[in-house]
Every structure is written in C-alpha cells, then in structure tokens.
C-alpha cells in the first residue's frame, strides 16, 4: 500500500485515498490525427520494470490530479508534481537520474 504526497494539499495520502490514472504525459490526438498517432494515444502504454511516471488523483482528499515518478520495482518515489505540465520537471528528472543515470522516458530529451 503506497503513500504519496499530494503536491496540492501536502497531505501524505494513503493509497486508499488515491485513485490511479495510468501513464503520465500522454499527448492527446484528436479528429485530424493519423491512425498510428491515435492508436498510440489510446492504447500504447509504457510498462517499465523500473521508473514510471504516472497520474494519480487525490480523490478522497482535495480532489486534485497530480503526477508521480515511482519505481515499479522498489516502489521508491522520486517525487510528486503538478498535473499541469507536459513532462517531468527538472528537479524530478534530477532525483530520478541520481539513482538511475541512464533513465530515459519515451522520446523525452
């Protein structure tokens, strides 16, 4: 049972107070998009044994969505951060790379 700190209200939330929202930073593809792009958006998900960036909602709490960077193997949490960014912020990347220098995420630079 995880505990994640909600970056909006600061509560150290129990997993039962949260709901999981899958992979973070997906780019939405709408009506004009190609079949490949739309398929990727709708169905293709990273499933790493290792560092994952994911979406969570503090549903039994302040109700806000947020992002978390977490190792699926050790459950180490590298940080939680705003839902309103399209990629992990630098401090999160630094925290991850301090432990996993070769960490890569999709096509993120």
């Amino acid at each position: 049972m995880l505990m994640l700190k909600c970056p909006y209200c600061g509560v150290m939330a129990d997993e039962t107070e949260l709901s999981a929202g899958g992979e973070a930073h997906l780019k939405r593809f709408g009506p004009q998009s190609s079949a490949e792009d739309f398929e990727g958006y709708l169905f293709a998900r990273e499933n790493p044994k290792g560092v994952h960036v994911e979406r969570w909602r503090h549903v039994n709490g302040c109700g806000k969505w947020f992002h978390a960077a977490r190792c699926t193997l050790t459950l180490e949490v590298f940080g939680t951060y705003s839902a309103q960014v399209t990629a992990p912020p630098q401090d999160i990347r630094d925290a991850i790379r301090a432990k996993h220098p070769d960490w890569r995420w999709r096509d993120m630079a």
């Binding site: 909006y8 209200c9 600061g10 509560v11 150290m12 129990d14 039962t16 107070e17 549903v59 039994n60 709490g61 302040c62 109700g63 806000k64």
Partner: protein, 195 residues
C-alpha cells in the same frame, strides 16, 4: 394548501453514546466557493461571511456556527446559520461579479456529526487511514479523507470535540459507523488523554 413545509437535516436528532458520543448536528448553511483563493475579493467575501480569518492550506477557522474551511487549492467551504445562506450567496455574487468563480448552496448536500469525548480521536482512527493523532490533526486543520468506505472530512472544534461531515445519502452509514466505533468496551487506549 397545507402548512409551511418543513426542512430536515439528514438524520434529525440521531444520537448514540458509548465511550464517545455521536450526535447529528442538524441544519447548517454551507456554500462551496471555488475561485482564485489568492484574490483579495475572494478572501474578503469569504472571511466576511465566515466571520473568521482566511485559512491556509488544510486550514479551518471557526467561530460559533461560522467557519471557513480550505477544501482544495481553489475551493473553500463556507459555513453559517442555515437561514443566512441566500443572503450570503447574494453577497458573493455581487462581490465577485465579472470574476471567474463558482458559488453554490450546498447546505443540504451533507450531513454533519459531532463526535465528543476524551477518546473521540479513537473513534475516527478506527475508520480513517488519515493520521488523527494530536500532532498531525490539531485544532485548525480540516482533513478530507475516508471514513469506512465513503469520503468524509473532519476537524476539531476543540480537543474531545470532533466534527465530521459526509454526503447526505450516506448519513445513516456514517452515523452507524461512528456509533459502532464508539461502542463502550471497544476503547483502544492509544491516544493519551489531555488532563
């Protein structure tokens, strides 16, 4: 046509006594106010209606029947006597006209319970994963979490005097949960009782 139609809280008069008391608190006015909590107009109207200072993150300030509770970074819950809600809403609409905000009367949306007694914290600790120890949950903090299987929020009116709010439809469930957890003979003896 008949008499004046009577308004009712969720479980009027519901009460149970064990090692702590559980009482339904009856009708109370409540307004959800969403907006930019850093704007002075929002702060002014909220504190004006609540009669208290603006609370910070996770904060609640209360005086008698009035309170302002921080619910999320863009949401406050204003509490006041039931009869004053319409006036308060009018005040909000007038003050914030032209701004982006949302204010709705939610006086009937929730049920409220008072859990009282020296071991009131233990009643909650049986039901919520939130840390309700004196250090983590002092007076002035509102914690939104779960009680049993439903969402709820709670704060201290005073030590030994915890107020719990939940959605109206689950009032009976939450009352039963609290009453069951407060049953005499099920004291845990975990939190130290202040003298």
């Amino acid at each position: 046509m008949s008499e004046v139609w009577q308004n009712q809280s969720a479980l009027p008069g519901a009460s149970a006594t064990g090692f702590a008391r559980v009482d339904e608190i009856g009708l109370r006015g409540a307004i959800v106010l969403r907006g930019d909590l850093s704007s002075s107009a929002v702060k002014n109207v909220a504190t004006g209606i609540g009669g208290v200072d603006m609370p910070g993150t996770l904060g609640i300030n209360l005086v008698e029947e009035r309170a302002v509770a921080w619910m999320s970074p863009d949401e406050l819950l204003l509490m006041m006597p039931y009869a004053e809600v319409d006036v308060a809403l009018g005040q909000i609409h007038k003050t914030l006209e032209g701004q982006h905000y949302l204010a709705q009367n939610v006086s009937d949306t929730r049920a409220g319970f008072l859990v009282s007694g020296a071991r009131a914290r233990e009643v909650l600790a049986k039901l919520t994963p939130a840390d309700v120890s004196p250090d983590a949950f002092p007076k002035g903090v509102v914690r939104r979490s779960k009680l049993g299987q439903v969402p709820a929020a709670f704060w201290l009116n005073d030590e030994g005097d915890i107020e719990v709010i939940c959605f109206r439809s689950v009032a009976q469930y939450v009352f039963d949960l609290l009453a069951n957890a407060a049953k005499a003979g099920s004291e845990v003896g975990y939190f130290s009782i202040p003298d």
